[in-house]
């Protein structure tokens, strides 16, 4: 049975959704602004016969995720920016070993310890692999509320389907905002496809091994990387997600993700009164970035305005997608500042006029 409508903060929403998606093993280390997530699970997992461990560090926590995944569990960890940086080594090992797992990043200001205010400056880290080696991690960017529920389920499914770590990229604001949500029923773990690669004891069958080191002479690592690349190509072909709301006569389309997209949406609503015809393009997978969809849109709309909670990261993927088909404008704010819809409206007015007063035109 789905739940009744419940009012919950974003971090609790992700935690409850993970439990219902079959996660029974959580490993993490505290960091603001996402402590409400492990706090919730520390009680909740006990109720469903799961295991909650606060590791001695982020490094140990991600390696516990790696271990639990190797024996077939649906497992996850969560943190915020500096903590996610510490987990990167483990994520690279999981990519190399082809181990599923979910990593939640409720982003805060950086670099370094930065501050505890919301930010979205980990886009590069999340979408470009994050650690060493030729790998990618699917990245889902919810805009809060019900999408936090839905994409948490998607994250676990994608991780199992492709045997890959998957990142859910939120921000500190999203973790704290309370909204109504409805949870689907608990999945039955017995209904999930059997994992024929796990290392859970080999009595009565051939032993298996999981490793990320390939020292063989016959181009073993070369073949392994080509195999991984095939998988990433398949994910790129089949798993792009985005949302578009763009009138046919729009003079400009705004590109934003996560919380920034919601603030931009309110700005667009405010500007309707001024007869500015604007659309919104919201990437939901940041990797794979929905380039073909944005490319098609940029053939019809003369201007593209990019708004980010960073000084310019996703804008690079927008440039790759749009090229010279449309004029590109950018406005970004570093971590620690929460813009209002009025602030974004100032940028959009300026971009529509092309006067350069707020934000800047990108020279492609």
């Amino acid at each position: 049975m789905p739940s009744e409508k419940m009012l919950m903060i974003g971090s609790h929403v992700v935690a409850e959704a993970a439990v219902r998606a079959g996660c029974r093993y959580y490993f993490g280390y505290p960091i603001t602004p996402q402590n409400e997530l492990p706090e919730y699970l520390s009680a909740r997992l006990l109720e469903v016969g799961g295991t909650f461990i606060q590791g001695e560090s982020e490094v140990s926590s991600i390696n516990m995720v790696l271990g639990a995944s190797a024996v077939g569990a649906r497992t996850m960890t969560s943190s915020s920016s500096p903590g996610v940086s510490l987990k990167q080594e483990g994520i690279s090992y999981m990519a190399g070993m082809e181990l599923p797992g979910v990593i939640i990043n409720m982003m805060r200001g950086g670099p370094g310890l930065g501050n505890i205010a919301p930010s979205a400056a980990d886009y590069f880290q999340a979408t470009r692999g994050g650690a060493h080696g030729d790998y990618r991690t699917p990245v889902l960017a919810p805009a809060g509320g019900q999408e936090l529920v839905d994409l948490t389920f998607v994250a676990f499914d994608l991780a199992d389907k492709y045997r890959t770590p998957v990142m859910l990229l939120g921000d500190g604001l999203m973790g704290q905002v309370m909204e109504p949500v409805i949870f689907p029923d608990f999945i039955d773990l017995k209904d999930l496809p059997e994992k024929d690669w796990i290392v859970d004891g080999c009595e009565g069958r051939e032993p298996r091994a999981l490793f990320s080191m390939f020292l063989g002479q016959q181009g073993e690592l070369y073949q392994h990387n080509l195999h991984l690349q095939e998988k990433y190509d398949k994910i790129t072909a089949e798993e792009m997600r985005w949302e578009t709301n763009c009138p046919d006569d729009a003079e400009m389309v705004v590109v934003a993700y996560g919380t920034a997209a919601r603030i931009a949406e309110s700005a667009i609503e405010e500007l309707e009164a001024e007869d500015l015809r604007l659309g919104l393009f919201r990437p939901i997978t940041l990797w794979p970035f929905p380039k073909p969809a944005l490319r098609e849109l940029s053939k019809k709309v003369p201007k593209v305005a990019v708004f980010e909670f960073s000084l310019g990261q996703m804008v690079e993927d927008v440039i790759f997608s749009v090229g010279e088909r449309a004029e590109i404008y950018f406005h970004g704010l570093p971590g620690g500042i929460i813009p209002t819809p009025a602030d974004v409206a100032d940028f959009l007015r300026s971009a529509a006029k092309g006067d350069g007063k707020v934000g800047r035109r990108i020279d492609v």
Binding site: L7, G144, L173, V177, M178, P180, S266, I338, P339, A345
Partner: protein
């Protein structure tokens, strides 16, 4: 319809709880709601604020450009948030604690002696419930029944506080109706 209300005051004045009550009451009424708290490194003795948005359509941004109503439970909150209030907005002031009023003349002001009214119905500690009653009555966001439902939703598991809080909410409504 879309209405944004900012609640602000000292930590411990029940500022965030007022936001929860409005949020739960709005959801009970069938509206879309968002609750956006400020959070900082400070905890005890610091300032607290939250913004609640109610709408009959899907709410995009939980962050408000200009709140339609401001509830200031102490003077620093009035100073800080007065400039953000929308033109023709409403400001609710906790006159048990301060008597200063806004310098702007394009906003409506309601001074609520929250502590005195709460004491009248049984307990000083219901000051925030008196205030949320007054806010819902004056703005028309929720009826008294919806406000009480909101309180019950916000305080689920703490049923022993319901009767006292209900009296305080009703006192807030009566204050707006009778002007005293």
């Amino acid at each position: 319809m879309i209405t944004r209300t900012t609640f602000a005051g000292f930590g411990g004045q029940g500022v965030l709880l007022m936001g929860y009550v409005l949020c739960h009451g709005g959801m009970h009424k069938g509206l879309d709601v968002t609750y956006f708290p400020s959070y900082g490194a400070e905890m005890r003795g610091g300032t607290a604020n939250c913004t609640v948005t109610l709408s009959d359509k899907k709410i995009a941004s939980p962050v408000a450009s200009k709140p339609d109503a401001l509830v200031a439970m102490n003077y620093p909150s009035l100073e800080k948030f007065e400039p953000t209030v929308a033109e023709n907005g409403t400001v609710f002031l906790n006159s048990s604690l301060f008597t200063e009023t806004p310098s702007r003349d394009d906003i409506e002001v309601l001074q609520v002696p929250t502590a005195e009214l709460a004491r009248e119905v049984g307990s000083d500690r219901g000051a925030n419930m008196v205030m949320i009653g007054a806010v819902c009555a004056k703005t028309g966001l929720l009826t008294v029944e919806e406000t009480i439902k909101g309180m019950e939703g916000a305080l689920k598991g703490k049923e022993k506080f319901f009767p006292q809080n209900q009296k305080a909410i009703e006192r807030g409504f009566a204050f707006v109706a009778d002007g005293k």
